[in-house]
């Protein structure tokens, strides 16, 4: 007699009515995990929001064979009071073996809350996932700002849960599969006591230029950039190169830019073809978010800066002696 078929779930987060890229990244990884788990392991997805029937089908393009869709005007905006019961209920009913979330602003709170409701374990902000010989999920998790990587297992409880930041896994090519969309009866939402907390509005302030995770070139600045004026120059350089600007925590603290472009354990993970860092010391928090970059070029006046340890090219110099010249050199000529 064959064993009960196993299921790997991905929660597909929705941003402004569209499925977020991280969902496709997770589905791509889930397909690898399913292969390692053995024949009969299915990849499935959960989707919560409003007006998502068309979007649901897109999940099938990335290999989700079943989609559990909770579609209701009350789910238009994320609220812990509605999303958590929906997902916890679904997982309790269908018993997935593994359940993955994007470690986004919403996923980072939704995942652990669902885990708490199911009394199971979840590994946060994983940098890799694999299946071991016991067919259990092994999550690799950074701590101490990325200085240490530890394995986290959830040996005795299901689902084994994990969250992964956008950009950690590569989105594979679509491989459409026949899909079964299962619509959830959401009438119970009306009966929930949701008076204590109401989502009112989502305000987007998209940063200028390319999103960090789509740029082939990332120009990153730290405290050593020295001034707002230099920061503008840095942005010009990124613009001329058709890339994006990134920063470390000290540049945010100095007020030159805001947190949305921060790279590292408490910011984004990036993997551009070329990373050029100016005035960055190289705290492990930051390195953890950029070490997957193709070529790493670093400019810092301190020859001992830790960033040089993880660089392909070391330039020991003042930011001022390189940044204006480089910006001029790559400026488009008409």
């Amino acid at each position: 007699m064959s064993e009960k078929s196993k299921k790997i779930w991905v929660h597909a987060e929705v941003v402004d009515g569209k499925i977020a890229n991280v969902a496709f990244e997770l589905l791509s990884k889930a397909r690898d995990l399913a292969e390692a788990m053995g024949e009969g392991t299915e990849v499935e997805a959960t989707l919560t929001g409003s007006g998502l029937e068309k979007e649901a089908e897109r999940l099938a393009e990335w290999g989700a064979k079943a989609i559990y869709l909770a579609d209701d005007p009350d789910l238009q905006m994320y609220s812990p009071l509605t999303f958590i019961p929906v997902l916890a209920e679904l997982a309790a009913k269908h018993q997935p073996d593994i359940y993955l979330f994007g470690a986004t602003a919403i996923g980072s709170t939704l995942g652990p809350a669902v885990a708490a409701r199911l009394k199971t374990g979840t590994a946060a902000h994983c940098i890799d996932l694999r299946i071991n010989e016991e067919k259990k999920l092994v999550a690799l998790v950074p701590s101490f700002g990325g200085k240490v990587i530890g394995e986290i297992l959830c040996p005795n409880k299901n689902p084994q849960m994990a969250s992964v930041k956008p950009g950690i896994f590569t989105k594979k090519d679509p491989t459409p599969v026949p899909v079964r969309i299962e619509k959830l009866d959401t009438s119970f939402l009306k009966k929930l006591d949701a008076r204590g907390l109401k989502p009112v509005n989502v305000v987007r302030r998209p940063p200028a230029g390319l999103p960090l995770n789509e740029a082939d070139v990332v120009v990153c600045g730290g405290f050593g950039v020295g001034s707002q004026e230099n920061w503008h120059l840095l942005e010009k350089l990124a613009e001329y190169l058709g890339g994006a600007t990134a920063c470390t925590r000290p540049a945010v603290d100095e007020g030159w830019t805001d947190e949305h472009c921060m790279v590292g354990t408490s910011g984004q993970s990036i993997r551009p073809k070329v990373y050029i860092g100016f005035g960055i010391s190289g705290a492990t928090h930051h390195i953890c978010g950029m070490n997957e970059s193709g070529v790493v070029i670093s400019v810092n006046r301190d020859a001992e800066a830790p960033i040089f340890e993880v660089s392909d090219v070391r330039i020991v110099a003042e930011v001022n002696s390189i940044l204006p010249l480089l910006t001029e050199a790559v400026k488009p000529k008409f």
Binding site: K119, R195, V295, I297, V313, L325
Partner: protein, 275 residues
């Protein structure tokens, strides 16, 4: 209306010294000898918020921590900032807890304080994440154990009327606005308030403030199934330090020469320059 606030704090090794964190090659454990312990930085923002709520509306500020016995020093520091009293949940039975077990222990600590005081806390505040583990999961899971609405990465909280609060949480490329009524469990971002400096007077006063230590026997309502390492659904496996070293070719010469070589690298990687 006065608000009673409890703030969860965690002692962490000073993030400035993470380069000294090593792994014992034999025992496969983390060594952090010589690294000072401090209050998790963002927890201080949570304490500041609590103090300002008390200053504006009245009420009380209690701090709670699940930590080894020597965390009393950290708690004295928090009391010196202005908190009214502190509770330390400390017992070998709590050790090795993952986020679910940690939040469960804190939940029972909070329940016991509430029972002793005869009220329920209006706000349960945590820093959004700890500097060491940075899972950022405890506030959400604590909210679930308590059965209260919870929000994470809250960077604004303002009272709008007698009872409602306007809140903002961070989102990718923006933020989300909320209206909330207490009780609320909040994981706050450091922007929420800038922590005040501790005054000498504060340090003097802190010496006489109550600091209660509770062990396993004190949390009699808690079940062993959810406590400590044994009660943690996640279990640690191997640990290692990532080797991220790169060749690090040193570019020397005049600035013009260096820039020329950088441009060559950009071109060879398919980046259009001067186009």
């Amino acid at each position: 209306m006065a608000y009673n606030v409890v703030v969860c704090v965690k002692p962490v090794p000073d993030p400035k010294h993470y380069d000294k964190v090593t792994i014992d090659p034999v025992k496969k454990t983390i060594t952090r000898t010589g690294i000072p312990t401090l209050v998790n930085p963002v927890d201080k923002s949570a304490i500041e918020l609590a103090l300002q709520l008390r200053e504006r509306y009245g009420g009380s500020v209690v701090v709670i921590s699940m930590a080894p016995p020597n965390a009393d020093e950290i708690l004295r520091e928090v009391l010196a900032m202005g908190a009214d009293e502190a509770y330390l949940l400390s017992d070998r039975a709590f050790g090795g807890a993952d986020t679910l077990a940690t939040s469960y222990t804190l939940y029972h600590g909070i329940k016991k304080i509430e029972a002793a005081k005869g009220f329920s806390f209006d706000f349960v505040l945590c820093g959004s994440e700890s500097a060491d583990g940075a899972t950022a999961q405890v506030s959400s899971q604590l909210g679930e154990w308590l059965g209260s609405p919870h929000l994470w990465n809250v960077f604004e909280l303002e009272g709008t009327s007698e009872e409602a609060f306007a809140l903002k949480t961070k989102m990718e490329n923006g933020y989300m606005e909320w209206v909330g009524y207490t009780p609320l469990v909040l994981g706050v971002a450091r922007e929420i308030r800038k922590p005040r400096f501790t005054s000498i007077m504060g340090i003097m006063k802190a010496k006489n403030k109550p600091l209660t230590v509770w062990g396993r026997a004190d949390l009699s309502e808690a079940e062993d199934t959810y406590l400590g390492l044994a009660g943690s659904p996640t279990q640690p496996g191997e640990i290692f330090s990532p080797d991220l070293k790169r060749s690090g070719e040193l570019f020397t010469g005049t600035s013009e020469e260096i820039v020329g070589r950088v441009v060559t690298i950009l071109r060879s990687n398919g980046v259009v320059v001067g186009g």
